[in-house]
Symmetry: C2
Subunit: 215 residues, 2 copies
């Protein structure tokens, strides 16, 4: 019935959607493009909390708690659909299925974050890297974003990967070097040559990709 959309937003690579600590009057779903969600520590270092892919909802928790937990930045040109925060109670009242879907998404997010925590806390650089590349590839492929040879768009720089994995850029590079015949990264694409071998490096089953329902 009612349409809660409130316009679309276009971002260029490097544009910031919102900053950590900002109070948000909107939240968003990603229509296309990829980005990252960062926290910045006192000393200026960054930690990427998660990648932002098409279909993801972002800024919801920031809308609800009144303060964005992290900065969202585009890694490629992005297009997002915008929703007004203050119509959220209305949505919950009038469209409970959609509200349910929204909560489902938040719950799924939590699930992912748990895996990231386990990875950062307990896995070696090689395992983390293999795991992350596999996850990224699987999720994007599940969204249908792969081309004929199974390569998916990958606009991130090694520094971004390092921020995500909790590693230094130098060591990230050296680790990627060790995976070079399993994985090809270049000109904005990521291609996995040997899924099984990569999974073995990650030392964890691929665990089917859990596509999220769109809002």
């Amino acid at each position: 019935m009612m349409d809660f959309r409130d316009g679309e937003v276009d971002l260029a690579r490097g544009d910031v959607l919102f900053e950590e600590g900002a109070s948000l009057s909107h939240f968003y779903t990603v229509l296309s493009g990829q980005g990252g969600r960062y926290k910045t520590l006192e000393n200026g270092e960054r930690q990427m909390v998660n990648f932002v892919f098409p279909g993801d909802v972002t800024g919801l928790s920031g809308s609800l708690t009144g303060e964005a937990a992290a900065t969202v930045q585009a890694a490629s040109p992005m297009r997002l659909c915008r929703f007004r925060k203050n119509r959220l109670p209305e949505l919950f009242r009038d469209q409970s299925e959609r509200a349910y879907a929204l909560t489902y998404i938040a719950a799924t997010e939590e699930h992912f974050l748990g895996e990231i925590i386990a990875t950062l806390g307990r896995r070696t650089a090689l395992q983390r890297t293999a795991w992350a590349l596999l996850r990224i590839h699987t999720r994007l492929a599940a969204l249908g974003l792969h081309d004929a040879d199974g390569a998916v768009p990958f606009p991130y720089r090694q520094a971004d990967l390092a921020d995500a994995l909790g590693l230094s850029v130098v060591h990230t590079n050296k680790t990627l070097a060790r995976l070079r015949d399993l994985v090809e990264i270049g000109s904005g694409r990521l291609k996995v040559n040997d899924h099984a071998a990569l999974a073995e490096q990650a030392l964890t089953e691929p665990e089917p990709p859990r596509v999220r329902p769109l809002l």
Copy 2:
């Protein structure tokens, strides 16, 4: 109006509420006691995803996605209130404010997890430890669980802390030793002697404790 509660659950120290991977027919709120939410990796190591304190909701994401993301285990005797998963749509339909509150809680959880990720990814052992102790103390104190000298219940073992911080038990111990005049841990209690100094070690402002609304 309608009451969605479906009984209470009592756990003894060490009891498992549910295991990672289980499909949950219920979710819970914690009435009293403390626990931990763990993931177990292939190699048998554990990573604590977060601590479970009174007022927390747990198992919600597991209910929604059909599979618990982690194991919840009691670190002290616990009492929980149980809710049926399959009445959730009903709740969303008939009591939108409560549904909203539930989503709010999930969002807050996400916020916390983001901080944990940043800590695991970028901070040193000393920073992590100080940060965690400070967080724990602040949250429990905000719940009113402190006694006259400001000590809060702390049923966790050093091994639990190590699992939470992504450190080895040995190194956790050595790090705690370095904090010994700032913090007293013993006989199930945690007391912070010098808040400011601890915060300095954590290298991050305490950031007021964000009490969560009960369901």
